[in-house]
Symmetry: none
Subunit: 401 residues, 2 copies
């Protein structure tokens, strides 16, 4: 399998590192706007022929198409900020290869009623092209990271194997990660965190469909396993809410993120100052997007692995009925940072994200997951994926609640 | 009296507007880098012969000297950002005329111990030239705005007329100004506010001399008069702490700024995220200083006068002994924004700053304040200054505490 990896940030690096271990990975092109960064990752991989470096501007569809053709790839893996989704998605379609991402095309809030009614939803721009992709026999597998991704696969598994009837599905994400030596250092892209936390959170309910709320709604203390313990979680806009109801039968779907008080305060200030703005403004003669400046001021989460300690947990809580009795389970994966650093040389959050598309590559390459069109991970059989998790270093757990 | 005003921003405008009312103001040259701005102020004054406009780069000493000679001025008034203090100060010395400013030459933090030990202090570069100025028979009156300026004069007045012995002097500044229509809109340059609030605050104590602390130290709730009420104040680097102990006998001097909880939280977040950085960083191919981006995201305070409501209070709290009994007083001036807009066409913060140098001009012109060397406002008799405050539209109050 030949893959064009667009975006060699933290998650991109972990995808490359994990793919390198598999013989089916014939070639993986490391393409980034920051060529020095791509070369840094290439140097770690010690196989420059199998992992060539290319400069690319992910906003320019024609450049991505040219690289895909030059290297004759079977799949374009998008590991960029989702603002670049459409040029990368469209490039794969034009070139005629498969496409995979870990976050879907961006939403636009409703113009007059943003905190009740969705505007353009996450992934709408991709799903509206499903028929075109199907006709061309190509697969766009969208949202195959950890969340969305593994969390969606867990939801499908719950339906297929654990419940007779599902009432509610709630993805719950929490961590006790600590970055030593920094006063403030998010362990994930701040650009994306701002996007998902300040956009109106989305909820799905049977009969009502998708609806939105104000940011940070429905706070809930969720108890995470493996010593992480109780974390304050709030509703956040996330792909699972858009994906799960399309393929899993339930009455309600939410996503809650364990942000904690300090982080919620920082995000509220960023919004108040207008620093969440992703459109360029004029500053002393140059044009720059304030949100990009915020991201540039903070340490790159890709380089924080050595100062991070603790665990991060991603998972899916499911409430329903089995054999006539009420049942609640939490299906989860806990990644320990020190372990990820030792095993893969990348920190826990990006490692826990990166292993999912790599399993996806294998399932597509071996013809185990095979469809044409635009699909979320819960559209496929969850077993071959979950069977591989332990072998890839990320075993899942199931907790009865 | 002929004056060269270098800098015709908000405060420069208020100085010109207020000087225009006095016959002793024979000529006041409006010199700015932004000539259109100087012309805008000239048009309001309706007397272009008495208020000629000149273009100047305040960083170029020789240009300032040339203008001072061309117009044969008696005094150069510096109403620029203090980053330009030294070329303007040196130009006055070279030309042989008096000099006045409202903020002193900038500090540099101590290289290894910034939060305990001062490095270069505010005004150091000016005071080290005092002997030269004295020998040439010229007066440099530094720090004659409202704070520093009026606040220093209040300290001297307390010593001369209200106390037998002074234990502590604390300048306290607070406001209830509200900018309607904005979620967050500072009423003063955010760039300068970040500079003064994030620099290590300076404190003076008898026996210990000047020392610094971490930002936002010694939080204190101070009750301001005239309906402003209680405001959370914290230590900030300010000139009064450098000036007052030189001429007023006391045991401790501080400056605390009533920033309020919300603003303190915002500044802490700005610092934590590294957005206070005034050096350019690389952001997606352009170079930009994060602090400039923060400023560009917020509305320009120079154009907010019409949406501002409320009052601002500047003053000096003094604690000591009079006739064997403990005494505490707060000497203050409260400016109401709507009143300032009506009377002078400028907002409260710049009006309350601008009237002080104008009283200074009159006292120098009439020979009432007369010295050679580099002096702060508390080096002079406070009575003739304070007697004029009401007449100039800014009466003071004294509150026993």
């Amino acid at each position: 399998m030949k893959i064009l990896l667009v975006g060699v940030g933290g998650v991109g690096e972990s995808i490359a590192v994990m793919s390198a271990r598999h013989a089916w990975c014939e070639k993986l092109v490391l393409a980034d706007y920051n060529q020095a960064r791509a070369e840094e990752v290439q140097a770690k991989l010690k196989d420059p022929e199998r992992f060539p470096v290319e400069w690319v501007d992910a906003g320019k569809q024609e450049l991505i198409e040219a690289l895909a053709r030059k290297h004759g790839v079977n799949l374009i893996m998008n590991a960029c900020d989702p603002v670049f989704n459409m040029p990368i998605f469209n490039a794969a379609y034009e070139v005629g290869c498969h496409y995979m991402d870990m976050a879907m095309s961006l939403s636009e809030p409703h113009e007059t009623d943003p905190y009740h009614t969705p505007g353009i939803k996450l992934g709408d721009l991709q799903f509206e092209q499903a028929e075109k992709w199907e006709k061309k026999g190509l697969l766009a597998l969208v949202g195959l990271g950890v969340e969305p991704g593994m969390a969606d696969i867990f939801a499908r598994y719950a339906q297929d194997h654990l419940f007779d009837e599902i009432e509610e599905i709630g993805v719950r994400d929490g961590a006790n990660l600590e970055v030593r030596g920094y006063e403030f250092a998010p362990n994930f892209s701040i650009w994306t965190t701002i996007e998902e936390c300040l956009n109106p959170p989305i909820i799905w309910e049977q009969g009502k469909g998708w609806f939105t709320t104000p940011p940070f709604s429905e706070p809930e203390t969720f108890e995470f396993p493996d010593g992480i313990g109780k974390v304050e979680c709030v509703n956040v806009e996330h792909e699972e809410v858009l994906l799960v109801p399309r393929w899993v039968k339930t009455k309600r779907v939410t996503f809650k993120y364990g942000l904690g008080d300090q982080f919620i305060g920082v995000l509220k200030t960023i919004k108040m100052l207008g620093l969440d703005n992703k459109e360029p403004i004029k500053v002393k003669g140059v044009n720059v997007a304030p949100r990009d400046v915020v991201a540039a001021c903070l340490p790159d989460p890709a380089h924080l692995g050595d100062c991070m300690f603790g665990k991060t947990c991603a998972g899916t809580w499911v409430k329903g009925v089995k054999d006539g009795k009420p049942r609640q389970v939490y299906l989860y994966q806990v990644a320990d940072n020190e372990e990820c650093m030792q095993k893969f040389g990348v920190q826990a959050v990006v490692a826990q994200t990166g292993f999912n598309p790599v399993i996806g590559f294998e399932l597509i390459e071996k013809g185990i997951w095979k469809k044409a069109g635009v699909y979320g991970p819960e559209a496929f059989d969850p077993l071959p994926f979950m069977d591989r998790m332990a072998e890839f270093g990320f075993p899942y757990g199931i907790k009865e609640m």
